[in-house]
């Protein structure tokens, strides 16, 4: 600890929706209108083969993007194999592969 007290402010875990920048997500919504359609059933995550090797979950990726947690989303997507199982199991018929590719196109790793 770099101060005389031996402790300091801990970061807040609260998601502050007012600070979430939706510019990119709005663009994503233009590219793939299904971006807002997820009802968080988790089918995609349950069937995801990449999920076995990593924390990949499309449900969480979408959720993170909607909450401004791009870094987490990007890290998860780095494991996606684009196999398309999620698009088969999605009860809402979301075009998941296009959604994923569109995210990969719009968002950046860093």
């Amino acid at each position: 600890m770099d101060n005389i007290f031996g402790f300091k402010l801990s970061p807040s875990s609260t998601i502050d929706m007012d600070k979430v920048d939706f510019t990119l997500f709005d663009k994503l919504h233009e590219l793939e209108p299904d971006a807002w359609k997820c009802m968080a059933c988790g089918s995609c995550s349950a069937t995801c083969p990449a999920g076995t090797f990593s924390g990949m979950s499309l449900r969480k990726v979408l959720h993170c993007l909607q909450r401004g947690k791009q870094k987490e989303a990007v890290n998860m997507l780095r494991c996606c194999m684009l196999c398309g199982k999620c698009s088969i199991v999605c009860p809402r018929g979301i075009n998941t592969r296009h959604l994923i590719l569109s995210i990969c196109k719009l968002y950046k790793e860093d």
Binding site: M17, D18, W36, R67
Partner: protein
């Protein structure tokens, strides 16, 4: 035909039953405590799932029941059971002997002020679903008109599924109402961010799910799974809403220009006093207890006393109307039998 039928409550259930009875050749007496007919529905704006104007439904029913005996601003003062009927004393001094009585006393909207943490009646920009319907109808409410609306939210399950609020039942229609109102608001304020804070979304009815999908896909309504835990007001008078985003497992907060509380359906205020006049049983949720919750919903345990609509629990409008029709037929067959 000297067989009087008294309908207690002139909301849509009472009117629908009266309409059916009139068509079957009876002339029922409608007792309504307010100075107008139509109950709650008369104050709503549009009805899901097809955005039917509520006024049309009510005025149609009023037109169809013009032949009935209607007492407005009248309450039941006293009621007792006779050998083959009921003696009813009305607050206007008239006394009626009825062979059959139909309770269509409906529900009350939960008093949102009871959920103190949401600040209804305390914060300038917190309203209820009822207030919003009123605003849709009249266009005037200073809490809504007070300023630019950049972000707004809906809190589902206010006073419903809430043992602390003494209502453990699901009020059934609020989910779809919130989605409906969210879409209407998004249409009025296309640039506003609209949030729905929900615990579960219970889209059980015809086309309800389509509504929900459309709200997400076409209107970009932001659904956050988590019950709002507290609401405060910031220095600009905007409301600060805190909830847990249970899908993220993290607290979430957002500042809103308008917060709509989805007050649930709770038992009518008069249920207990009416029930006590005839020692009718009241269910654990405070609504009238039907003879059987599956096969005899419109019957009470007492011969000649019938129920229809939301007096036995939260109902949608089509369910209420269907029950009213059933009750009318049950009454007629009861009169034939005896």
């Amino acid at each position: 035909m000297k067989q009087n039928i008294v309908i207690v409550g002139g909301g849509i259930a009472g009117l629908e039953a009266a309409k059916r009875l009139l068509r079957l050749g009876y002339r029922p007496i409608i007792v309504e405590k307010q100075d107008r007919l139509g109950g709650h529905v008369a104050q709503w704006h549009c009805l899901f799932p097809d955005m039917t104007p509520a006024g049309e439904v009510v005025s149609g029913l009023i037109r169809d029941t013009a032949e009935a005996n209607i007492f407005l601003e009248t309450e039941i003062s006293f009621m007792n059971r006779l050998r083959d009927g009921y003696n009813i004393m009305l607050s206007n001094g008239i006394s009626v002997i009825a062979r059959a009585v139909l309770f269509t006393t409906g529900f009350s909207l939960f008093d949102a002020a009871k959920k103190e943490e949401y600040g209804y009646g305390v914060y300038d920009r917190v309203i209820t679903n009822g207030d919003l319907e009123h605003w849709f109808n009249t266009g005037s409410d200073k809490r809504v008109d007070g300023g630019e609306i950049r972000a707004m939210g809906f809190v589902h399950c206010v006073g419903s599924r809430d043992e602390k609020a003494r209502n453990s039942q699901c009020s059934k229609v609020c989910c779809i109402t919130a989605v409906k109102q969210a879409i209407e608001m998004k249409k009025k304020f296309p640039d506003a961010a609209v949030y729905c804070f929900y615990m579960d979304l219970r889209m059980f009815g015809k086309k309800f799910e389509d509504f929900y999908i459309s709200a997400q896909r076409d209107y970009g309504i932001r659904f956050i799974r988590g019950r709002v835990s507290e609401v405060s007001e910031d220095i600009d008078g905007r409301v600060v809403v805190k909830a847990e985003d249970t899908l993220a497992g993290k607290p979430v907060k957002v500042k809103l220009d308008l917060l709509v509380l989805m007050s649930g359906m709770v038992c009518g205020r008069d249920t207990e006093s009416l029930a006590s006049m005839l020692r009718l049983p009241v269910d654990t949720d405070g609504f009238f207890k039907s003879r059987n919750n599956v096969s005899a919903v419109v019957q009470s345990p007492l011969e000649g006393i019938f129920y229809a609509g939301a007096c036995t629990g939260p109902k949608t409008i089509p369910e209420t109307l269907a029950e009213a029709d059933t009750a009318a037929l049950e009454i007629v067959s009861f009169l034939y039998r005896s």
